[in-house]
């Protein structure tokens, strides 16, 4: 078994009396899509926040490629190759789509203390950005201001920015959120593509998508990992059914 690229060792996080992460162990291996599922309030967003470096865990460690990154802030983690997308679309709304992706390309070229040269037409920035847009099928929308794009397009753009960031691992926070059935299936197809290229940690609500894509699934309930394994194991796990899937059994069976 290959060494894990991302390794989370026993992180915990409390907010006042609420335990949002309770001694969580997970890892993501090269070539793998590892999905995290759990009901609302399971602490998925808190987990992502700690992985991306926006929240500091109270205890435990996070390793990326063997390096302890627990104390590193978000920009450093991004520079190491940990690219994230946001559940609630977090784009540069007043910029054009292309500019959004250009910004994601820019850190790949080293620091940005360049005050003089015109960045608007720099091929080193534009070309990779256009390629990323093309990848998600948005190249024809490059010149549109993001605020004027649809929600579905925003989700695609989120993805384009994550891959333009030259990631070594993608941290995707509910890429399917708010998408219609048709858009969802397109997104699943896209993720299946990406999965061949990047290891992915996918936090997702959409069970159908998760079971279609994941190599491994970890179930989070009240901040605790209650089960972890391949999709078949999770599907068969009684505790998972009781604690989580029970409440949406029908959806689950349909999936």
């Amino acid at each position: 078994m290959a060494d894990a690229l991302l390794k989370v060792e026993g992180i915990s996080k409390r907010f006042g009396g609420v335990v949002a992460s309770d001694n969580i162990h997970i890892d993501v291996r090269p070539g793998e899509l590892h999905a995290i599922i759990g009901p609302n309030g399971a602490g998925k967003t808190t987990l992502i926040g700690q992985l991306a470096g926006e929240l500091a865990p109270d205890s435990g460690h996070i390793y990326f490629d063997g390096q302890d990154i627990t104390a590193q802030p978000a920009p450093v983690r991004a520079a190491l190759g940990l690219a994230r997308s946001f559940q609630i679309t977090s784009l540069f709304l007043d910029f054009k789509a292309l500019t959004n992706v250009v910004l994601a390309v820019q850190p790949n070229l080293g620091h940005s203390f360049h005050f003089w040269a015109d960045a608007r037409n720099e091929p080193a920035l534009i070309e990779p950005a256009l390629a990323a847009l093309k990848r998600v099928g948005l190249e024809h929308r490059a010149a549109v201001t993001v605020a004027n794009m649809s929600h579905g397009e925003h989700r695609q753009l989120e993805l384009a920015m994550a891959i333009a960031n030259r990631p070594r691992l993608l941290l995707l926070d509910e890429p399917m959120a708010g998408l219609g059935p048709e858009e969802s299936s397109r997104m699943v197809a896209m993720l299946r593509e990406l999965k061949r290229e990047y290891p992915i940690l996918l936090v997702e609500h959409d069970m159908e998508a998760v079971f279609a894509l994941a190599d491994r699934i970890t179930v989070l309930v009240y901040g605790r990992v209650i089960a972890s394994g391949d999709p078949a194991t999770i599907r068969a796990n009684a505790e998972v059914r009781d604690a989580y899937l029970g409440e949406q059994d029908e959806e689950f069976v349909d999936g």
Binding site: P73, P75, V76, A78, S90, F95, L103, Q106, E122
Partner: protein
């Protein structure tokens, strides 16, 4: 890109007008006009520098006039101590501004939004009171400066026309510099951080140091305006950095339009010309309406200006530049 637009024509006309002011002034003997426009050009530099952090960087500093004062006081105190060379005065003034911006910026930029507004205001007020307490350099009454900066005989700042063109060239330089910065990679980071700082961080930009650098650059540019202002007035006093002066600079930037590099110049010209002419306008209109002499009404021009600001905020958020381009902020 179209180059012949209403807005570009207005901007070009304004720049040509500014370039011709001394010629017209000298020919017509209207020296007041040149004095007024020297001041306008200098304050336009300050407004352009403020707009770099405020319009492009989203850092609403309510203490920008502090740099006018610091620049002026460094120049003034050196002149008083007998160091009159501009080659020493000017770089030192900019260095002190940079230092002040670095320290206060490092502290203020740890916060956001309203906190940032209030903290920059508070630090500027601190410097204001420090100036008031400097008895050696005039304290509350201010400091009269007897010698303008000397440039080894190369540039004679006591010649009004030369002085005007030095200011005008500085303005053009400031505009060009900001324009380059805004369109550079650095400028992309600054604008990205204004739009969505969290995303910038998660993409991999440690935005704090970029914003701080930008804050320092703007402080230095405004410091230059301060040196020029004190040179023009042969005088510097704490009033230069009173917080309402910072407010004026914000008004210029917003009134002109924060979306573009040139906007604040339009705003500076508009505000200061208005300040100069509004009293006349009020008394003329008032006189026509009431049939009485309204000379007394001239004093109350701020009664008109205040609500006007409110109206600009509510209905013309892109400022003059926004109106000319048909573009409206937010």
């Amino acid at each position: 890109m179209r180059f012949v637009t209403v807005r570009n024509i207005v901007v070009a006309a304004l720049l040509i007008f500014l370039a011709l002011v001394p010629i017209y002034s000298t020919m017509s003997g209207n020296m007041f006009l040149m004095t007024l426009f020297t001041r306008i050009v200098i304050l336009a530099i300050a407004a352009v520098s403020l707009n770099l952090i405020m319009g492009f960087g989203g850092m609403v500093s309510f203490g920008h006039a502090a740099y006018l004062g610091i620049g002026g006081y460094v120049f003034g105190s050196m002149a008083t101590e007998g160091i009159t060379s501009g080659f020493i005065q000017w770089p030192l003034a900019l260095a002190v501004c940079a230092l002040f911006a670095l320290i206060t910026g490092a502290l203020s930029l740890r916060t956001r939004g309203v906190y940032f507004i209030m903290i920059t205001l508070a630090f500027a007020q601190m410097i204001y009171y420090v100036a008031v307490s400097l008895d050696k350099y005039g304290g509350d009454d201010g400091l009269t400066i007897y010698t303008r900066s000397q440039f080894a005989g190369l540039i004679d700042l006591s010649n009004r026309v030369v002085f005007y063109y030095v200011c005008f060239a500085s303005l053009l330089g400031a505009i060009y510099l900001v324009w380059r910065i805004v369109n550079s990679r650095f400028g992309m980071v600054i604008q990205g951080a204004r739009s969505n700082d969290r995303r910038m961080q998660s993409i991999g930009f440690p935005t704090y140091r970029y914003r701080l650098t930008c804050f320092v650059i703007a402080g230095m540019m405004c410091g230059l305006a301060g040196v020029l202002l004190a040179n023009q007035a042969d005088f510097i006093s704490p009033a230069t950095m009173h917080w309402t002066r910072s407010g004026d600079l914000i008004v210029m930037a917003v009134l002109g339009g924060m979306g573009s590099v040139i906007g604040p110049v339009l705003g500076a010209v508009a505000l200061l010309v208005l300040e100069e002419t509004l009293p006349h306008i009020i008394s003329v209109i008032g006189g026509a309406l009431t049939g009485q002499s309204m000379a007394a009404a001239r004093e109350y021009w701020a009664l008109v200006l205040g609500p006007m600001l409110l109206l600009v905020v509510l209905f013309a958020r892109g400022g003059i530049d926004g109106i000319l381009t048909g573009r409206h902020r937010g």
